[in-house]
């Protein structure tokens, strides 16, 4: 009699654990950023990468692209965001090999391709910094909804550039999947990027 009760108690516990595991592991991923629904093909661009070559977005198929628009003399938002991108890179571990971390300047007047590349690499050697002429950059800014405006200051740098500060996530198929606004938790970005990197 006791054995029979034990059998049902242990069996019930195992079954409950299996049901709980099934619920947890089959739960659909819920994105934390602002999702583009349905995903949109990310506008293509080709910009100078500082080593004399050109970085073309459409050639990055198979890699996930984490894109940010900023400038090298930015005092606050850009270094903060690039530091967060560095943290994402670290937290992804070996998965980061399948991701491209890209900075595009919003200040082509001062940010040459070499300077932008050097600045991006100062956060992580794998980071890519891109620049070009204002004529080349204008359509890219427009396509990605980048707001930018020069603001004169009394500082030695002369002017600052007010700009939007989104992080864009472009999946392995070249689709613009979501954006994160400035200040979004790094944990959220890591979760979504990890999910997209594992997505086939």
């Amino acid at each position: 009699m006791l054995r029979r009760i034990e059998f049902w108690v242990i069996g019930g516990m195992v079954a409950s654990l299996l049901v709980a595991a099934a619920v947890v592991f089959t739960r659909p991923h819920s994105f934390r950023g602002s999702v583009i629904d349905p995903p949109l093909p990310a506008p293509d661009f080709a910009l100078e990468d500082g080593s004399g070559g050109r970085f073309r977005l459409s050639e990055q198929r198979g890699k996930l692209v984490i894109l940010f628009f900023g400038f090298t003399t930015c005092p606050d938002v850009c270094p903060t965001t690039l530091s967060e991108m560095k943290l994402i890179h670290k937290r992804l571990g070996t998965l980061a090999e399948d991701a491209r971390f890209v900075l595009i300047t919003v200040d082509p007047e001062r940010d040459t391709p070499e300077r932008t590349a050097q600045y991006a690499a100062s956060f992580h050697p794998a980071f890519i910094g891109l620049s070009g002429s204002e004529e080349e950059l204008q359509p890219v800014w427009k396509a990605y909804g980048v707001y930018r405006e020069k603001r004169q200051t009394a500082s030695a740098s002369g002017y600052l550039v007010d700009h939007s500060a989104f992080v864009y996530i472009i999946d392995r198929n070249g689709n613009w999947r979501e954006t994160f606004s400035f200040g979004a938790p790094v944990d959220d970005m890591v979760e979504d990027v990890r999910y997209l990197l594992r997505e086939r």
Binding site: R32, V35, D37, L40, A143, G145, Y147, S164, T179
Partner: protein, 177 residues
């Protein structure tokens, strides 16, 4: 016989303590809920809220002629999903939602807070969003238990210090048993 009545005493005091604690918690918790100014919206289920940005909005905003009446402050409940449909030819931004032209941006409002966002399709360029914490039946029961159980146990422990002779109704219960 003595041990049995002691156990009964202990049981009744604990039970009464918990009952009083839960009633007290119910009054406090439900009373606070009914005093909430937005109790009806805070207790509703999350739902989707869709905003449509019509074609030509960016041009109208640039020309200062955009006069669509969107409230400057909108109230949501935690868990609501904000969908911004952009039918315009330019990308638009509503706080953390950046929507390319001819696309939709979707954001789940998972954190209750007051937000003041940059908004590219409001004449003032600003939009306030309030996300109310959602008070569902589950959280009301949790609040009841979180306050009621410890209060009840505390009352029960204090009641153990009252000598049984002073609690007349216990005598009656003991006799009945």
């Amino acid at each position: 016989m003595f041990a049995r009545s002691m156990y009964l005493d202990f049981f009744i005091r604990t039970l009464l303590g918990l009952a009083v604690g839960l009633v007290f918690a119910f009054l406090i918790s439900e009373g606070s809920f009914w005093l909430l100014p937005n109790k009806q919206s805070a207790s509703r289920d999350p739902h989707e809220v869709t905003l449509v940005i019509p074609y030509g909005t960016s041009e109208q905003v640039k020309a200062g002629a955009y006069n669509r009446s969107l409230p400057e402050n909108m109230t949501f409940v935690q868990g609501d999903v904000l969908i911004v449909k952009n039918e315009d030819v330019a990308a638009h931004q509503l706080g953390p939602v950046l929507v390319p032209a001819h696309a939709s941006g979707v954001l789940e409002l998972s954190q209750a807070s007051e937000y003041n966002y940059t908004c590219s399709f409001q004449p003032t360029n600003r939009m306030g969003i309030s996300v109310l914490p959602r008070v569902d039946p589950n959280s009301r029961v949790q609040a009841l238990l979180a306050v009621g159980l410890p209060t009840g146990m505390m009352l029960a422990i204090y009641s153990y210090m009252i000598p049984p002779e002073k609690l007349k109704f216990l005598k009656g219960l003991r006799k009945a048993s």
